[in-house]
């Protein structure tokens, strides 16, 4: 009888062998490496660069607006009477290399940057826990100068270098650190440090497929006029097809790195906040080959 059982076992085992999924005979057992994408909806968290890159051939047309302090009250329509803006174009030269230019009305400042991704978060047989990118840029202000002789080009320039290290923890939460060094050739006051280091970060909490709450914060270290504060922003991302709308409350006026790291005034917690929005429209230049 016992022998019979063994006999039956083999019979059944053989049968189930044939009833197995056909695909099992050719499927790889190892999971494929999968690059993690979409930690942030946009290449900016709010003010700061995010770890996201533009895909090759994508042109991102960005219009950013910042209004006056909400605390200015009804006479200024809670800040809406005063608006500054930055208009910019970013372009993906390759999937890991983005360049961009922009011009802000604040101090009539031009800016340009390059950004490259060194490491992309990946899961699978190759496990990379972080995405790491570098951004470097330059700014020059062009507004009329009140003094006798307008400073030359070099004196009006500033430079920044930023490391972005972030992770998409899951589909709801992403976080990045974004330490930055900003060097201003001629700060507003001679007592201010030319080189300011700032430590900060930003994150995203997804609340639906197309909406997310974002925040970014940087704390500048160095000798600066006490009226300069830490740029702090909290906002909402709304993605609709080729557009991303970013609505936010921030204490920063500036929309390039020199301006918002070294020239933010107002205490966020005391109500010195401004309404603002970024509008990003993506264009695909040239077709992807497939």
């Amino acid at each position: 009888m016992k022998k019979m059982t063994i006999f039956l076992f083999f019979f059944v085992a053989n049968y189930s062998l044939n009833a197995q999924d056909l695909l099992d005979s050719i499927q790889d057992k190892n999971p494929a490496n999968e690059k993690i994408t979409g930690a942030f909806k946009s290449t900016r968290v709010i003010n700061a660069h995010s770890i996201e890159m533009l895909s090759k051939g994508n042109l991102d047309f960005r219009i950013m607006h910042r209004f006056g302090f909400v605390s200015d009250g009804i006479k200024q329509l809670f800040g809406l009477d005063a608006a500054t803006m930055r208009i910019g174009f970013d372009y993906g030269i390759s999937d890991n290399f983005t360049v961009g230019i922009g011009r802000s009305t604040f101090r009539k400042e031009l800016d340009a940057f390059v950004k490259t991704r060194l490491l992309q978060q990946t899961k699978g047989t190759k496990n990379i826990p972080l995405t790491i990118a570098l951004a470097a840029g330059a700014t020059v202000w062009t507004e009329p100068y009140a003094g006798a002789a307008k400073p030359d080009f070099s004196d009006r320039s500033a430079f920044y270098f930023q490391i972005l290290a972030g992770r998409k923890f899951n589909s709801f939460f992403s976080f990045q650190l974004s330490p930055i060094i900003v060097h201003t050739n001629m700060p507003l006051s001679e007592e201010d440090d030319k080189t300011i280091f700032a430590l900060g970060g930003g994150g995203r909490i997804k609340i639906s497929k197309r909406m997310a709450i974002t925040f970014d914060y940087h704390h500048p270290f160095g000798n600066q006029n006490v009226s300069f504060t830490s740029p702090t922003s909290i906002g909402v991302d709304i993605a609709t097809g080729g557009h991303v709308f970013q609505l936010q409350f921030s204490n920063a006026t500036g929309m390039n790195e020199r301006a918002f790291i070294t020239q933010t005034t107002g205490n966020f917690l005391r109500g010195d906040i401004r309404f603002g929005f970024n509008l990003s429209r993506m264009f695909q230049l040239g077709k992807k080959s497939w």
Binding site: K3, L22, I26, G38, S55, R210, G241, K288
Partner: protein
């Protein structure tokens, strides 16, 4: 001891019985397209796995959703992040049977128009589908193609109102297999 000898045929038998002809490919191409008043969307996946058990007429497909390539990078991102949720549902499957498939022979040249019925698993939803298939056999080279339509709503893929005019509710799917190769027995 002599009983052990009795079992041996049963151990060996399946290996012979799987000497039945199975064909496979790892490079089947599945593409889909959406035509709408505002824009056309096309995507293609060139790394689709498929196995066809010729004796029984059973056919299976498997693919990674992230391997669909779009002409626009942003479409690809939205496809994976917002519509099919590739993190949650990384693969799609089809398991079906060709009608009268067990009578097909891959020895005889010819063009066979058949119907396949089976279950498509996509976005975590299983649906019965039926599709016409054209199998072409020429000098023992087996190729096949098929075309069918799926409704996004059937697979619980929601289109927000704001892009309702950009994405068709009915998606045309095309399957093309350039060559089914014999699967070595194991």
């Amino acid at each position: 001891m002599k009983y052990i000898l009795l079992y041996i045929p049963f151990l060996i038998l399946p290996f012979f019985s799987s000497g039945q002809l199975k064909l496979f490919t790892k490079t089947a191409v599945i593409s889909f397209s959406s035509k709408s008043p505002l824009e056309n969307i096309e995507a293609r996946n060139k790394n689709v796995l498929s196995v066809w058990d010729v004796n029984t007429g059973r056919v299976e497909f498997s693919l990674l959703m992230r391997e669909f390539e779009f002409k626009k990078a942003l479409m690809q991102e939205h496809f994976n992040e917002d519509y099919v949720e590739s993190d949650k549902y990384p693969k799609a499957f089809f398991k079906g049977v060709i009608d009268g498939g067990n009578t097909l022979s891959t020895e005889a040249d010819g063009i066979y128009n058949v119907t396949i019925n089976g279950t498509l698993t996509l976005h975590g939803v299983q649906r019965q589908i039926s599709a016409p298939v054209t199998i072409t056999i020429k000098n023992k080279t087996v190729s096949a193609k098929s075309e069918f339509t799926v409704a996004l709503a059937d697979f619980n893929i929601k289109i927000p109102a704001i892009v309702a005019n950009n994405i068709s509710k009915q998606i045309k799917v095309q399957v093309y297999i350039a060559e089914y190769k014999p699967l070595a027995n194991r």
